[in-house]
Structure formats: structure tokens, C-alpha cells
């Protein structure tokens, strides 16, 4: 049961009746009794909430930052019209910040025996699964004084996928890929190692690429073109341990890593390579292997949606052994982890020979732009000590990166906005150099 403001207003107006007409305890009793009787009548005449049939429908996935509509179909099987205030309760992060109150409440009028729909527009602000909590209905009586209230459990899940903000970099990287591929006419010699085809010599082609034997067989000069290898295997390894939880700007490092992994996946799939995914901290969190090219991005985003940084130190030994199991043949292993000295020196470095023995390894780490701000601080003692600390941190990271480079690992250290294109460029460079 629930009252409305009207009841209080009616009782307040009743004070005039008591004061002017019936100034006595009896008057008080009569007016209050009348108000309560009206409330009771309203309660009895309100449509029942318990027997409502509520069904959900709508979309189940959304990219983070975009909106999704989830509808509620309310059927009123009773003989009385339903005038109701409906609250579609979801966790606060499912709504656009500040609008949770307004967008979760709907005013519905459902005539007897009919069905009406209410649409809730969700704009999740956190990655992962968002579950509908419950639907609370307050069915008001014909006088609008009081209403019956009850809740229904109508489950629904909306999965907020990683935003893949770096997909804007995809077209430019794809065009560079086509250049590599020899599909566009370029004046430079194709840099791949795999023989592609013979074509007619055009002025500007490198004379060293002329195939004299083929030219002898035809009456024009033929050049050999090369293309990069195809059907290479790439394993993207996401370290979801404690170093991925640190917030860089407004999001954890992990989000930037996911973005970079998605751009690399999109690019490599177009280039004809196979991409697998492993997310690991103390144990395997997600693994996607052997997806076909057209379903690989949905499979990755779905798996990534549920990843959360764990506040534990990553078990590097287990991570490396799982990665080796997923990459039995020569592969490009892209390790998205941190460059902090301690975990890398103690955890990863002793195990690197296992990886580099057979595989090409790229280690990508998200740098913190706040360090640059800190390092530029001057003028006050505090700022200069901050600058010194930031320079020390940067020097430590450089030192760690140098040691890894000496092991034959390609190290990337870029701020969140640049990590995805930098990783894509590194991939293209490796491919062009034929190191896959």
C-alpha cells in the first residue's frame, strides 16, 4: 500500500472543516475517518498488482557509452483499469549518470484486459553484464489517494561490450595493409617474403625485382611481386592482474588494453591471420580460440565484456604455460601487461626464453599520461620532487623495457589514446619485415 500527496492535502484541507465547522474531537474523528475511508475505497478499487503479467523484450547487448532500449509489456488481466507508476529497477551504473530516477520510472495506463508497453533506455557506464533488478508497480485507485504496491521479478540481462573506440584507426591501418599486400600499385618493392605473382614492369619499379627468366618467356619485362605471409597465428594475452587495475585517466589500464587488442584483432583478421585470445591473472579468465574470421570480433567483445581487473599479482608461470599450450606452433604472442619493474623482473623475465624460443613476442603496456604532467612540474618544492619521482618512474620503465628488448621482445609503452594504433603499427611493421 502507498499513499499519495493528495491524501495529505485532503487531510490538511480537512483542518479548515474542523476549525470552522466542527471544532471538537468528534469533528477531528469525522474528518480523519472520512479521509481514511476514502483511502480504503481507493485501495479496494485499485487494480491488483499481484496478477499483472509482465514480459520483457528488447536488446541484450550494447557498446559501452551507447544506449539500448529494454521494453516492459504489462498485461492487466483484472476487470479494473490499471493506472500505475512503474519502476524498472536496474543497478545505478546501467543508467546514464544523473538520470536513473527519471528514466527508470514510467506512468502507465492499462485498460482492463489489455496490454501496454513501457520502454526503459539504458546507457551503461560500466562494462559487463547488467541485470534487471525488479519491477515495482504502484497501482493507484480511481481517486488517486492511495495505491497498491507490489514487485515482480522479470529477469533480463544487458551486456555492455567494450566500446572499441580505436576502430576509427582501422581504415588507415587497412589501407597500409593493402599497400603491404601488393594489391595497390606501389612504387616500392613489395616487402613480404611470400611470392605472390608476376606482373608487367612499370617505370619506377625496382629493377632488382625483375624476373629475367619470366621476361624471357614473354615479350614484355615481368617483375615479381611479393606479399606478406598469410594464415599466421596471433595470440593476444591480456594480463588482468593488479597492474591492469590502475586507473589511467578515467578508466583502468585494462580498458585501454582491450581496445588495443580489438584493433589488432580486426586488423589481423583482415590480413588473413588467425587470432586467439587469452585473459589470465591467477587463473585463466577467458580464452577464445579457433573462431572463424567473421565471428571473431563478436566472440572477443563478448569474452572481454566480463573481464574485470583482479587485485592479485598475476601468476606469470601459469600464464606463460597456458599461452604456450594455446600456441603450439610459431605465433606472434602479444602480451598486454604492465611495465612495473618488480612483476616483470621477478615474474616474467625468467620465463621469457620459453616464449621467445619459438615465438615472436610483443609486450604492450599502457603508460600514464599523468606522469608527463607530473614530470613537467616546476616552481615549487612539491612540484619538483613530483617531477623527480616521475622521472625516476619513467627511467625505471625504460630500464625494464630495455632489458626486455635485449631478450628479443618488442616493447611498446604508450598512453591509452595511442596504445591501440601503436600496437597495430607494430603488427604491420613485423608483418612487413616478415617476422611472423
Amino acid at each position: 500500500m502507498a499513499l499519495t500527496g493528495r491524501t495529505a492535502l485532503l487531510a490538511a484541507l480537512g483542518a479548515l472543516v474542523v476549525g470552522l465547522l466542527l471544532p471538537s474531537p468528534a469533528g477531528l474523528g469525522i474528518v480523519t475517518g472520512a479521509v481514511l475511508l476514502a483511502v480504503l475505497v481507493d485501495l479496494v478499487l485499485a487494480a491488483p498488482v499481484r496478477s499483472l503479467r509482465i514480459v520483457r523484450g528488447g536488446e541484450t547487448t550494447v557498446r559501452l557509452g551507447e544506449s539500448v532500449s529494454v521494453e516492459l509489456a504489462v498485461t492487466n488481466p483484472s476487470g479494473r483499469p490499471l493506472r500505475a507508476l512503474v519502476r524498472d529497477a536496474w543497478a545505478p551504473s546501467a543508467w546514464r549518470p544523473g538520470t536513473a530516477e527519471a528514466s527508470s520510472r514510467h506512468t502507465l495506463t492499462v485498460p482492463a484486459g489489455e496490454r501496454r508497453r513501457a520502454v526503459s533506455v539504458l546507457t551503461p557506464s560500466r562494462r559487463g553484464d547488467h541485470h534487471a533488478h525488479r519491477v515495482t508497480v504502484r497501482s493507484l485507485g480511481p481517486l488517486g489517494l492511495a495505491g497498491r504496491q507490489g514487485s515482480h521479478h522479470v529477469p533480463w540481462t544487458v551486456r555492455a561490450l567494450p566500446p572499441f573506440a580505436s576502430r576509427k584507426h582501422l581504415p588507415s591501418r587497412l589501407s597500409r595493409l593493402r599497400e603491404l599486400d601488393g594489391r595497390t600499385s606501389v612504387l616500392t618493392r613489395g616487402q613480404g617474403t611470400e611470392f605472390d605473382s608476376l606482373r608487367e614492369y612499370l617505370p619506377g619499379d625496382d629493377v632488382r625485382s625483375i624476373d629475367w627468366r619470366a621476361s624471357a618467356r614473354r615479350n614484355t619485362v615481368a617483375v615479381r611481386t611479393w606479399r606478406p605471409e598469410r594464415d599466421r597465428h596471433i595470440l593476444v594475452v591480456l594480463d588482468t592482474g593488479r597492474t591492469s587495475a590502475g586507473r589511467v585517466g578515467d578508466a583502468p589500464r585494462l580498458d585501454a588494453s582491450l581496445d588495443a587488442a580489438l584493433l589488432l584483432t580486426a586488423l589481423a583478421t583482415r590480413a588473413g591471420d588467425r587470432v586467439d585470445l587469452l585473459a589470465h591473472d591467477t587463473r585463466k579468465r577467458a580464452a577464445v580460440a579457433g573462431s572463424s574470421p567473421h565471428e571473431i570480433l563478436p566472440a572477443f567483445t563478448n569474452a572481454m565484456a566480463l573481464l574485470e581487473p583482479a587485485l592479485h599479482e598475476t601468476d606469470m608461470r601459469s600464464l606463460v604455460s597456458t599461452a604456450l599450450k594455446m600456441a603450439p606452433h610459431r605465433s606472434l604472442i602479444v602480451l598486454l601487461t604492465g611495465l612495473d619493474a618488480a612483476p616483470v623482473e621477478d615474474g616474467l623475465r625468467p620465463l621469457l626464453p620459453l616464449l621467445t624460443k619459438r615465438h615472436e613476442v610483443v609486450l604492450a603496456s599502457v603508460a600514464d599520461p599523468h606522469l608527463d604532467v607530473l614530470a613537467a612540474g616546476r616552481g615549487t618544492t612539491e612540484a619538483v620532487y613530483g617531477a623527480a619521482a616521475a622521472e625516476q618512474t619513467r627511467a625505471d620503465r625504460r630500464h625494464t623495457a630495455d632489458r626486455l628488448t635485449r631478450h628479443g621482445v618488442t616493447v611498446l609503452d604508450a598512453p591509452p589514446a595511442q596504445i591501440a594504433p601503436a600496437l597495430a603499427d607494430t603488427y604491420l611493421a613485423l608483418k612487413a619485415a616478415g617476422r611472423l
Partner: protein, 414 residues
Amino acid sequence: MTGPAPAPAAERPTTDQRAASDANGAAPSSLAPTGRGLWRRARWYLAFLATLLIAAIGITVLGNDRHYPPLDPRSYDADGSHAVVALLEQQGLKAELTTDPTTAQGGADTLVLPEPDLLDPAQLRAVAAARHQRLILIAPGPAALSALAPGVRTSEEDGDVPYASVRGTAAHCPLPEAVRAGSASMGGMLYTSGSRGEGCYPRGHGYPLVSAPTTAGDVIVLGSGLFLHNGELAKDGNASLALGLLGSQPRLTWHLPDYSAPLAEGTGTKTFNDYIPKGWRWAGYQLAVAAVLAALWRARRLGPVVSENLPVVVRAAETTEGRARLYRRAKARGRAADALRRAAAHRLAPALGVPLQAGAPDPEALCAAVADRLPERPAGDVRALLYGPPPTDDAALLRLADDLDALERQVRNP
């Protein structure tokens, strides 16, 4: 095989409940509690409430814990007077309590007035006119004295200290009751006996007990009623004195003063309520009802608050900021300067084409390259800036940071 037997019995209520809710027309998604569920949820609260109620009733019924004012014959407390009245009744006396002393009949009786000052002049006159055989006044003021005990005055009016502490005092007077009792707990207000009265238990220049004849009998003025208290009755000759003073007549009337009655004169200032017409008070109550209804309206939520597990927010730069604070607290200027110098050298080396060896350029080569690029700067100055001793205070550290910036700018834009 005894283990699994209770399981079906435990499940049955839920299936019954499902069937019952379907029979009521409830949708399967409804979370509205069923009667059985409500009972199951509320029964412990109800049991607790019932226990509380029973305990409250029990305490009220069993422990008849009324509190009486001092000198009340109904009170069993240490400052009550039940004992003396009970003793008198044992001896066949007829004791009665009254709240209005003017209704007590005169004649062969004793009237006890524990608070004669609470009576207004008309009541005092009525008491005086009723011709009681014996009047007992406890700590009367001048108004009561002049009306009921002519000739007796407080010793204050004779310029004496009007008050003495209560303690065991010898009688020193021919009053038969006092002579029988001997020493008694006397004190309180002190009075003078006047020309016809008799003062007992002298304290200083006054008497805490004065007996004076009246037209109908006599009046006993007491400075304090302490010797009548239950707790004091057994001491000294208190009991004997009390029985003698109160038990001289076959009837005893004990006035119960009404402490709650307003004082006759001096009505207080009017409060806000006095200016509101009588009828509008009920309108005020109606407004209170409206306020309660408004509170109920606002208090009812549309469903419960939804909680959510939030991620821990750890800023990545937190460790670096912590390190900066540690540097500052430890005054680690050498270490801070070293970090700044190494960073500057690391940036200068590529700009000058000096190769890096293990992440840092060779000092000699770097200084030579800087001297090449900036011939106007003395070579020793640059060397001291990049590889000199650590700064000695914070100001020197600040200067060093600025000088390194200036050097970098000069190298990049000579």
C-alpha cells in the same frame, strides 16, 4: 535411510504456496509475499512484541510503584508517614485522609496540616472556624500562624535565626507528651511561644515545637515533620512524641496537600496557546494528522534501493606521487636531482646525436656535444649542471630543475 525422509515434507509448503498463489490469480513473477510467507517472516517480531507487552503488563500490575510526596500517610518510603498512622489505627484511632481540610468536622479530633502555607486565606479561616480539638501545623508561615495559632510567631520576626538543623534534642518543657517522649529529632523552622504558648525543645532563642491554646483546644506548631517519617520513627523518643501528639483525640484527619493546584494569586504570562481560539486546537490536531499522512506518502519507496559492487579505484600514478612525498619528507635532494639530471641527459643525448649506452649517454661525450652546440657556455658550467654535486637545499634543487630546462631549450633552439 533415515536421512532423505524429511526432504519431501520440507518441499511441500513451497508447492502448496505456488498452487495457492496461482489460485489467487498471482502471476508467477510476482514477488508479493503470501500469507504464509508473511507469517514466517513476522512471527519472531510478533513473539518479541508479545513478550514485551506481557512483561510490561506484569511489571505494571505486580510492582505498584507509586511515588508519594514526603509526609504522606500512604507512603511506605523512608520519608512517608504510613508507620505512625498504622500505629495509631492499631490503638483504635480512626484516621482519615482528606484533600480539603475545610470539610473536616470539628470536635474531638486532630487535624494535621503538613503544608498549611498551601491553603488560601478563606480555607485558613474555615479551618479556624471548625473548632478542631487539636491542630497540628508543620512548618507554617506567618499567614497560617496568624490565622490558626494566634500569638505564635516565627523566631525570624524577633530578629533571630529562623532555622536549625534537625537532631536529637531534649524536651525542657512541661508539655506531657514531650515529657513522656524525652529527647526527640527536632529542628527545622523555629518559633517563639508568645504569651500563652509553651515552647519545647529549645534551640537557640526559638522552639521547633510550640503548643498554644485556642478557643476549641490547642494548636501544636512543629518546625519540621521529620520525626513523623517512617525512617525516623524508631529513633530517640520520636514514636512516643508522635503518638502522643497525634493520638490525643479519637479521630485523626490528615490533610493531603494538592501540590499540583495552581497558586491562588500571580497567574503566569499568557502563552501562545491562550491566544488561539479553543476550536482551532482541533484543527491543529487535524494538521498533525495531515503531516503524518504526508510523512507516510514520502516514506514509501517505489521498490528497494538497488546496490551494486563497485570496482576499486586505484590511480596508476599513486605510487609515483607517494614516492614524491617520500622524497620530500626525507629531503632526498641528491636522489631527486639525480633523477632530474639523468632524465635531462637522456633527452639531450638523442638531440645531440650522442649514442646511449645502457640507457644513459657517456658523460664526456655528452658534455663535449653540448659544448659544441653551445660554444658560448663554459664547459665546466654544463658539466657541473649535469654531473655536479647534489644540491644542498630545496632552493638549489628548484634552481637546478630550472637550469636543466633552460639547457634543454638552448640545445634544441641554439
